[in-house]
Structure formats: structure tokens, C-alpha cells
């Protein structure tokens, strides 16, 4: 099971999750230059929202009904929190020095984690999530139903987003706002609304990723947002901050790199003990440093408004 194709597949799957979450980071950063630290927690609350839907429905409901409903439930929670955060925590700080919204975001992230841990029943340990565990063998690669869901979800989301951004009026308005918010406003674009939409889309995608996560790993945890968020932001930077295609590409690259490193690093002489899952995050971080050193604008280039 540890063949290269399997590892690659695992990496791409992991990477798709990173990519979906990274979209949220990159869209928000591209428009308002804010690292929404709370985005990882939005991912997490999306998962808990989906879990709540699952628990509310009678057991034995078919997965075909369950999954869409969970997506809706999780999506609603995530979007609500994302939009709420923008409206009440970030928007009042639009003109403030950079440090203020960043610190607010950190506070929000902490608060969300703790709210879930304290007030959601039994949330201080991982909570079981329905899994899609049926496996399929394609050549030397084994994947689960959950993985198929993830791939489909990622593709559909990316395609819709690309279509939306290029072809719809709002999408073009979003591009304009990302490039030059002041001029966009002068052109009659309601930049506030655009920003809300960016947060909402990011939130929804994060919820999709959370459902995929739950289906794949069979559990969710109130701490899952922290590390996933960190790595997703790394992916966004890797691909080029502000660039939605970069976000997905960065996610895939990061996922593959992390998986391959965990699997194969201990084969390199001198590094026998540095392989395995326990070091995976270290390699992800090293990759970030390398990218920042040698290609700080990311793989596909940054798309951020030049706010001199």
C-alpha cells in the first residue's frame, strides 16, 4: 500500500483539502490584505455544523441524502461565522494600523476554538463523524468513497469559482476590487458587498473541506482548524497569495510534498529518524521557508492590490 502512486494519490487528496481551505485565505488577503487567522476555525465550525445536521437526522438516512444536507448545514454555519466576523470584528478596523485586525483575528480564532470546546457537547475529544469508507482499487492505488467525494467536491468548487470570477458581473467586480479598491468604488462597485461575498465563498469552501475531512478520517476535533489552517495558508503563499488558482495549486503541491517527505525521507542516508508522520509538519514548514526564500511571490504570482 505504500507504493509511489498511492503516496501521490494520498498527497493529492490531502492537497485538495488544503486547497479548498486556502481559497478562503487567499481571497480575503487579496482584497483586504488581512490574514484571517480565524479561517481555520471557520473550517472547524463548518465541520461541527455538518455533524450537528447528521446527529439531528434519523439514523439510517442514506449517505446520498446525508452528505448534501451536511454540506448545507456545515456551509450555513461556516458562512454565518465568516460573514459575522467580517461585519463585526474586521470591518470596524478597516482603517486601523495593520496590527489591529491581525490581533483581532487571533482573538477570534481562540474564541471560536474555545466556544466549541466548552459549549458543544463532548467536544473536548474528537467526535465521531460518519465516514464513507468503501474502498476501491485502481491499479496499485486504493481510495475510499470519501476520497472520491473530495475530488469531486474540489473540482466542482474550483470550476464554479473560476466561472464565477471570470464570467459573472460580481466576479469581475471582485477582480476589480482586488486590483484597486478605490477605483472600483469610484466605478460604482459596492466594495463592502464584494468583501462579504469573498468571506462567504471562503467560508463555504472551508465547510466543504471540513465535510470531506470528516468523511475521510471519521472524526472531527475542535483543534483541527489550527494546523489545517496554518498549512492552508502556507499553501496559499506557495501558490501566490491572492491568486485563487495558486491556492489550489499550492495546496496540491504542499500535500504531495508533505506526504512524500513523510514516506521517503527516512530513506535518505543520515535522516533515518526524520521520517514519518511526526515530522510531516516540520517539512511543510521548511517548504514554506524555502518558497519564501527563493520565490516569495509564489508559484503563480501574487495578486494583491498595491496598497502603498
Amino acid at each position: 500500500m505504500n507504493t509511489l502512486p498511492q503516496q501521490l494519490a494520498n498527497g493529492l487528496l490531502l492537497g485538495s483539502m488544503y486547497g479548498l481551505i486556502a481559497i478562503g485565505y487567499t481571497m480575503v488577503y487579496g482584497i483586504v490584505q488581512l490574514i484571517n487567522f480565524a479561517h481555520g476555525e471557520i473550517f472547524m465550525t463548518g465541520g461541527f455544523g455538518a455533524l450537528t445536521v447528521y446527529l439531528a437526522l434519523p439514523s439510517g438516512t442514506s449517505m446520498w441524502a446525508l452528505v448534501p444536507l451536511m454540506l448545507i448545514g456545515g456551509g450555513m454555519v461556516a458562512v454565518l461565522i465568516a460573514v459575522g466576523a467580517e461585519r463585526f470584528a474586521y470591518r470596524p478596523l478597516r482603517g486601523a494600523p495593520r496590527l489591529a485586525p491581525l490581533i483581532t483575528a487571533i482573538g477570534l480564532s481562540l474564541a471560536l476554538q474555545e466556544v466549541v470546546r466548552n459549549f458543544y457537547p463532548d467536544a473536548d475529544r474528537a467526535r465521531a463523524f460518519p465516514g464513507l469508507d468503501n474502498t476501491h482499487d485502481i491499479g496499485s492505488v486504493t481510495i475510499k468513497d470519501a476520497d472520491i467525494f473530495l475530488i469531486l467536491a474540489a473540482v466542482v468548487c474550483m470550476a464554479s469559482l473560476a466561472f464565477f470570477v471570470r464570467r459573472s458581473r460580481t466576479g469581475r467586480a471582485m477582480q476589480a476590487t482586488a486590483q484597486d479598491p478605490d477605483t472600483a468604488q469610484l466605478m460604482g462597485i459596492d466594495t463592502n458587498r464584494i468583501i462579504v461575498i469573498a468571506f462567504a465563498i471562503g467560508g463555504f469552501f472551508a465547510a466543504v473541506a471540513a465535510v470531506a475531512y470528516g468523511l475521510k478520517y471519521g472524526n472531527i476535533d475542535y483543534r483541527m482548524g489550527f494546523l489545517m489552517g496554518l498549512k492552508a495558508f502556507t499553501a496559499a503563499v506557495l501558490g501566490g497569495i491572492g491568486n485563487i488558482y495558486g491556492a489550489m495549486l499550492g495546496g496540491l503541491v504542499l500535500g504531495v510534498a508533505e506526504t512524500l517527505a513523510s514516506a521517503y525521507i527516512d530513506g535518505i542516508p543520515g535522516m533515518q529518524q526524520l521520517g514519518g508522520a511526526s515530522w510531516a509538519n516540520v517539512w511543510a514548514f521548511c517548504l514554506l521557508i524555502l518558497v519564501l526564500l527563493f520565490r516569495p511571490q509564489g508559484l503563480l504570482g501574487e495578486r494583491v492590490a498595491d496598497r502603498a
Partner: protein, 289 residues
């Protein structure tokens, strides 16, 4: 005796497909006040940024007192070129004196160890900096407001403070980016006096301006930039009389206008583009203003 303080040879600046500045030759000699004018979008600011290390020219080179400009703004200041900003960029929450003290940064060298150990050298250096800064504040007339926060100064005084701050680095060339924007006639007059006084101190001055009277009153020479190219250069009288300059400002097309070929190119390109829908999402880093 005129020795060139600043020499720009054949400077071209391209951003992706857009040429903002094209083959500009430009010189400032010591003891001169030179003006740089041109309609909006003419490339003045881009060219200006080539002189301050913010941009490195795609082609050509800029030298200060014979040495090519280093590619980093702080090194350019160290070399001896200081600047002010079109939109005032003071350190708003520092006092007037502190702003000028920061300007002294390149001419002092006390680092972290000196600050921590506070030997006699430190105290001497701080005292000297303060004295020098107060001299500059006296020169521009803000010495009585030394402990006021910069953001509390009225507009005209903020502009003066910016100039003092730039002078603190003991430049040989001072670049003033629209120093009279937003000023009334009295303030403009006062600024004229200030610039002349600066020149009398032996510092060459390069002005970008829109206020024609101001520029023509002060400058020994004026250069006109239109569409990224130097259209004309000469004494104020010569430039004022040149009808191409007038036309460039009023927008009347004239023969041999720079950019004619470009306009034709763009029109041709547009005709081709009509066929295929443009869905480029890349933003080109054009001029900031």
C-alpha cells in the same frame, strides 16, 4: 563651473508591455534648480522613482556624482539623494524633532550596542544629532514646535517638516515631489524662498511640479516629459514659449507627438482583440499614480 550631480542617460522603464519612460536623458548640475514638468500620466513619477532607487531602470543608467545609483532606496539616500513625497509621508506619531532626527539616520552610526552600553560616544552623538536637527528646524522655522506631534501640524508646516527631514541626511541633491500641492499663494511664495535658500546652501534641487509659475520662477532649467519621453528642455522662457508644450497640456494633438505610433499600435491591437473576448485576469504593475 558646473559639475553634474545627477546624470540620467537613456533611462527607460518598462512594466510588462507598458513603457512608462522612454530613453530619457537628464542632468542636474551642482548649484542648479531644475524643474520637471509634464501632464498627468507623463511618467514623471516613474522617472522620479528611478532616481530614488525605488525602481531600477530597465535600460540606461542613473549616476550620482559619477557613481551609478545603488538599487535600494536607503542606499540612494546614503549616497546623497534625499526626497520628499507627493502625499506627505511624515512619521505622524513622532514629534517634529524626532522626525528630523530620523532623517539624520544615515549620517550617524550608533547601533544597538552603542545604545545599550551608552558610552560617552553615544551621548556625544545624540547631542550632535539634536543640535544639527535643531539647526534645520530653525532654518525652516519650526524650532518652536519641536515637541509637537507631526500629525498635529497644519498642512504647510508638515510640508516644511518633510523638507527639513530630507535635508537632515545632508544630501547633495534634493528631490521635491510636488512641494506646493495644496498650498495657497502665500505658502507657495514661502516655499520659493525656502528652495532658494536650500540652493544657496549648495544643494542642487530637482522639482516635479504642476504649478507653472512656481517652477518657472525658480528653475534654472526645465525639462518637459510627455508620454514618457523628454519633449523639450531649456530655460523657463524657452520652454514656456514652446507651443508643443502648451499643446501637450491642453491635449491638442500635434505633429510628431511622442506616442503617436503607440496610439496607432493600440488601435490596431484593439481591432484584433475585438474578435476574441479578453479574459485576462492579470494586473499589470503600471504607474502608481
Amino acid at each position: 563651473m558646473t559639475t553634474p550631480v545627477l546624470e540620467a542617460r537613456d533611462v527607460t522603464m518598462r512594466f510588462g508591455g507598458l513603457t512608462a519612460v522612454r530613453s530619457v536623458d537628464f542632468t542636474v548640475n551642482s548649484g542648479e534648480i531644475v524643474g520637471l514638468i509634464g501632464p498627468n500620466g507623463a511618467g514623471k513619477t516613474t522617472f522620479f522613482n528611478c532616481l530614488t532607487g525605488l525602481y531600477v531602470p530597465t535600460e540606461g543608467k542613473v549616476s550620482y556624482k559619477g557613481t551609478v545609483l545603488p538599487p535600494k532606496p536607503h542606499l540612494v539616500t546614503q549616497a546623497g539623494i534625499a526626497r520628499t513625497f507627493q502625499n506627505i509621508r511624515l512619521f505622524a506619531n513622532m514629534t517634529v524633532l524626532e522626525n528630523v532626527l530620523v532623517g539624520r539616520h544615515t549620517r550617524t552610526k550608533e547601533g544597538i550596542w552603542s545604545a545599550l552600553l551608552r558610552g560617552p560616544g553615544f551621548k556625544k552623538a545624540e547631542k550632535a544629532s539634536e543640535e544639527r536637527s535643531m539647526e534645520l528646524l530653525e532654518f525652516i522655522g519650526l524650532a518652536h514646535k519641536r515637541d509637537h506631534l507631526a500629525r498635529n501640524l497644519p498642512y504647510g508646516e508638515q510640508r516644511k517638516l518633510e523638507i527639513a527631514r530630507a535635508l537632515a541626511s545632508e544630501p547633495g541633491l534634493l528631490l521635491l515631489d510636488e512641494p506646493t500641492a495644496g498650498m495657497n499663494p502665500q505658502e507657495t511664495r514661502a516655499t520659493e524662498e525656502l528652495v532658494l535658500a536650500i540652493r544657496d546652501k549648495g544643494i542642487a534641487v530637482l522639482l516635479i511640479e504642476h504649478d507653472m509659475r512656481f517652477v518657472f520662477n525658480l528653475s534654472d532649467r526645465v525639462a518637459v516629459l510627455v508620454q514618457g519621453e523628454k519633449l523639450v528642455e531649456g530655460t523657463p522662457e524657452v520652454v514656456q514659449a514652446d507651443e508643443r508644450v502648451v499643446a501637450a497640456y491642453l491635449g491638442t494633438p500635434f505633429e510628431g507627438a511622442p506616442g503617436d505610433e503607440e496610439v496607432a499600435e493600440v488601435e490596431a491591437a484593439e481591432a484584433v482583440a475585438e474578435a476574441a473576448p479578453a479574459d485576462s485576469t492579470t494586473s499589470t504593475r503600471g504607474e502608481a499614480q
